[in-house]
Symmetry: C2
């Protein structure tokens, strides 16, 4: 995907608010995209946006166009964004989850443009006529319209998201070993025996119960060491105070 | 998921910028979440935020707390958000794709809090100590820090997103039937014959070629009708102008 991100052009049509241009640029930078194109931006907005946190370089390299057609000329696939409901749409509308998948596929072959309309009016019918199809972010019907910067962030996130990651834990922390959990269980049992919590005749069943409990803690290796330290200290004190 | 959305508490710790509070509220409203909690917000920011587009109701019902602990008291699972790298994290860190899946599961049982730190400093070590684990949005290492409103939007989107939708097209537009594509192919062939494009001895192979081409257009039923209209008109004119 890395090289392919260079092939995506984020096209903002007639953006009016510098904060939104900046937010779009920042999201692009967050997710490793760099090609920003502005069609007919409100000049003051564009100049002010250049101070967006962490995205100056990207904004300096943003290209400005006077027409939508000019901004799309090198793109083989043009996808618009919409909150639907606003008008009779003549285009196929795809939910973001599926649309992003099609875009990812197309980016392997060549440049793709993703169009966002102005904050107030969205994409005009004329803008839409340049699109092959539209993406809809799955917002609630009664409050469908999204903030521009957030809409850009969501589309880019869906493009870089890893479906496989949702299914499996990428566990970076080293888990406590069975050996350490057994040591911890032993220390805990010892401490509870010294404290009179455990009765000799139920010691075996209590040990099993404690073992299940220490396993349920799902401890990291480091935390297991710390817990063992706690109980060693407690045991030391219990033995020290015990009547000899 | 609908009823479960009521169980998620979005907790903003020490937010400073009214636009960010407003953006977080707007994203919640976009995705059908309603429980916003603010810990120690900068007063002016909170008051100004109340004008956020389409989220007034949500902001009016936002609860204010003076400590993180108070804001979390009814939650059985507390998940923090981080851009990592900033410090030695003592918590398991899960990518958003997987973390959201765990949250969805927990929301079936009871309330879950999702914590976001201040724009400048993120969550403090003290805030983090209240968390069971952390979520990381998969941003680029060299520009990991996200805008607060965008981060909230991404987490909520991942919670409402439908994995199955990514795999199958929810095709709402009615596709052209084979019968109509055949009619269209016939009209096109006729027009090309009348225009002298098709030679009688290659007519059969040309017909097959045209049929493949009309199928590749992937036309909607409505567009197929329109195209047939084009060719009927063209044929009418070609025949009218033909020498009799």
């Amino acid at each position: 995907m890395t090289g392919e991100r260079e092939r995506l052009r984020i096209v903002l049509v007639s953006p009016r608010n510098p904060l939104n241009i900046g937010a779009a640029a920042r999201a692009m930078s967050n997710f490793g995209f760099s090609r920003l194109r502005l069609v007919n931006p409100y000049d003051v907005a564009f100049r002010e946006a250049r101070s967006a946190v962490g995205a100056q370089h990207l904004l300096e390299n943003a290209a400005e166009y006077s027409t939508v057609a000019a901004a799309l000329s090198d793109c083989a696939l043009v996808v618009g964004t919409t909150s639907v409901g606003r008008r009779e749409l003549q285009h196929p509308v795809r939910r973001l989850e599926y649309g992003a998948r099609l875009i990812r596929k197309e980016l392997k072959a060549g440049p793709v443009a993703l169009l966002f309309g102005s904050e107030k009016y969205g994409l005009s019918n004329d803008d839409l006529s340049h699109c092959h199809w539209l993406i809809r972010i799955p917002t609630e019907d009664r409050h469908a319209s999204m903030n521009l910067g957030q809409a850009v962030a969501l589309c880019l996130y869906e493009l870089v998201r890893r479906p496989a990651t949702a299914l499996k834990a990428p566990d970076r922390t080293r888990r406590a070993t069975a050996e350490n959990l057994e040591l911890l269980t032993g220390l805990l049992l010892d401490a509870l025996q010294q404290s009179g919590y455990v009765q000799p005749r139920t010691a075996a069943s209590t040990a099993r119960k404690l073992r299940r409990m220490t396993h349920r803690l799902d401890l990291s290796a480091r935390d297991a060491e710390v817990w063992m330290g706690f109980f060693r200290q407690i045991l030391w004190k219990l033995r020290k105070n015990a009547p000899s």
